[in-house]
């Protein structure tokens, strides 16, 4: 009888242990709807005048005001890498031609497929690229991702087309000065970049988005029209650290989001940019989880969500922002 009791007790313990195991692993599975997020520094623009980046923080020689005592900044070109379950996505895609590097004083560039490889991913596995906006430094390298479907706002395409057909050639010009185009309507939409976008459309690898769109459970596109360009769009991603929102150049500066400064004015309505900042506050509950495209503080402790960082190819940096349950760290 005692032996029977002992056996029953032991079996009962094993059963409890088994249930405990199931509870733990099922709890993990329930978190799988969250995504893992990394940030890659595709390249870095060196010595950009601060006033050209954030007009209200223009450098004043001799000033001790921290808002006016920075002459130039180095701007990373940040690309978001997002993994939700088995889906691998990019937010923005940088650019690659060597000529751009020479013309823009860029350093620390490496091909995005190689950067992904160093992170443990294959460019052929990228299924979606969400184009924050269509400027040449954010919508390049598309041909290197043959299986990716791009997501771009119809509003973005319509605005470019409108500009091209404007009857004043100074306004319609893609570059209206040999010294660089001056924020005119088609400025920044280079023939090569537009040809690559067109190539994706032509081959049935493009979704032309009209405003809001949920592209995976919890992964949502939000329009931010005129927050940087006519068809700028944000991307909300659920993670284990809360929702994060990528903003491309609508979120050029994270300090700008924090301190409510407009930044990187191009085809921009500053009111819409400020409202885009507010969207991040509303979605994430603050400014900490807003992911900037060009924030100089990226990959440092001063921009906390990006501080889990390391130096990778050619001195470019990467950051591991959040890991979904079951996802191992990709940090070397």
């Amino acid at each position: 009888m005692r032996n029977l009791v002992r056996r029953i007790a032991l079996l009962g313990s094993l059963a409890i242990a088994g249930l405990a195991w199931l509870a733990i692993t099922n709890g993990a599975a329930a978190q799988d709807q969250n995504c893992s997020v990394w940030l890659i520094e595709s390249s870095r623009f060196m010595k950009v005048p601060m006033g050209g980046f954030i007009p209200d923080r223009a450098f004043i020689p001799g000033s001790t005001d921290p808002n006016h005592n920075i002459n130039t900044v180095d701007l990373p070109v940040n690309v978001g890498v997002i993994k939700c379950g088995n889906e691998l996505m990019l937010y923005d895609s940088g650019w690659k031609q060597q000529e751009y590097h020479k013309m823009t004083g860029t350093e620390h560039w490496a091909p995005l497929p190689d950067q992904l490889k160093s992170l443990g991913f294959d460019a052929n596995d990228v299924s979606k690229i969400i184009i924050g906006h269509g400027h040449w430094d954010h919508a390049g390298q598309l041909s290197d991702f043959p299986n990716a479907v791009i997501y771009i706002q119809r509003e973005e395409l319509n605005a470019i087309e409108w500009a091209l057909n404007y009857p004043n050639p100074k306004i319609a010009a893609v570059n209206n000065s040999p010294g660089g185009c001056k924020r005119t309507p088609a400025c920044g939409y280079e023939p090569l970049t537009v040809a690559e976008i067109y190539g994706k459309v032509l081959h049935g690898k493009a979704v032309i988005v009209d405003g809001e769109a949920e592209i995976l459970p919890g992964v949502k596109i939000h329009p931010a029209f005129r927050a940087h360009t006519a068809g700028s769009q944000l991307l909300e991603v659920p993670t284990t650290i809360g929702k994060v929102v990528f903003g491309s150049d609508a979120y050029s500066s994270w300090e700008g989001i924090r301190d409510w400064y407009p930044a990187n004015i191009q085809q921009t309505d500053t009111v819409q940019q400020i409202l885009a900042y507010e969207k991040c506050y509303k979605i994430t509950g603050g400014f900490q989880n807003c992911i900037s495209a060009h924030e100089p503080l990226t990959y440092t402790d001063a921009y906390p969500i990006t501080k889990n960082s390391w130096v990778a190819l050619n001195g470019g940096r990467m950051a591991e922002i959040a890991l979904a349950a079951g996802e191992k760290s990709h940090k070397p």
Binding site: R2, S13, I160, A172, A195, G315, K328
Partner: protein, 183 residues
């Protein structure tokens, strides 16, 4: 007896605890990635020397053709294709637009060929003309869709226009190195 029951209890508790520990351990992030060696810097090339006065004059003369005709038409060509694929599939409208673009590129090429070109810029000039010829051919290819409805003409045209855009960029790097700014 108390002792056997206690032993059973201890053993049972230990089993539960061990299994729970293993379960928790499997949820943790494990194993740092392999150490990476940064690749060598890709060679961007030596710093460009400034254009001579003669070369500057050439670049200035070419700029209106480039900025007001060629670049706009190149982007316009992509949009003609986008409009056809995403909106109306109107082959006649596409043909009309493509023919107009072909003529623009041909006119631009004629104007460029008529320019005085410094000896040092002949290679650059040839590359520019090659880009214009590619664009002209691509536009002509697009007009063929109206005749047979085959989208393959657009595939070929897009590939040509992408190559032409790469050529334009090489020329721009030499003649107008300040043309691109961070966006």
């Amino acid at each position: 007896m108390i002792l056997p029951r206690a032993r059973t209890l201890v053993l049972s508790t230990a089993i539960v605890a061990l299994v729970a520990m293993v379960g928790v351990a499997t949820q943790r992030e494990l194993m740092p990635g392999a150490t990476l060696s940064p690749e060598a810097d890709p060679k961007v090339g030596p710093e460009q020397k400034a254009l001579s006065a003669e070369e500057e004059s050439y670049a200035e003369a070419l700029w209106p053709i480039h900025s007001e005709v060629v670049e706009v038409s190149a982007v316009d060509m992509s949009f003609a294709g986008v409009a056809y694929v995403t909106r109306d599939r109107d082959a006649r409208r596409l043909e009309q637009k493509a023919a107009e673009l072909r003529d623009r590129f041909r006119t631009a090429a004629d104007q460029a060929r008529a320019m005085a070109v410094p000896d040092s810029m002949h290679q650059v000039h040839d590359q520019y003309l090659e880009a214009l010829e590619l664009y002209e051919t691509a536009s002509a290819e697009m007009t063929k869709v109206a005749a047979d409805g085959k989208v393959e003409h657009l595939f070929d045209a897009q590939a040509m226009s992408q190559r032409a855009a790469e050529n334009l960029l090489k020329v721009e790097d030499v003649l107008w190195p300040g043309e691109y700014k961070p966006h």
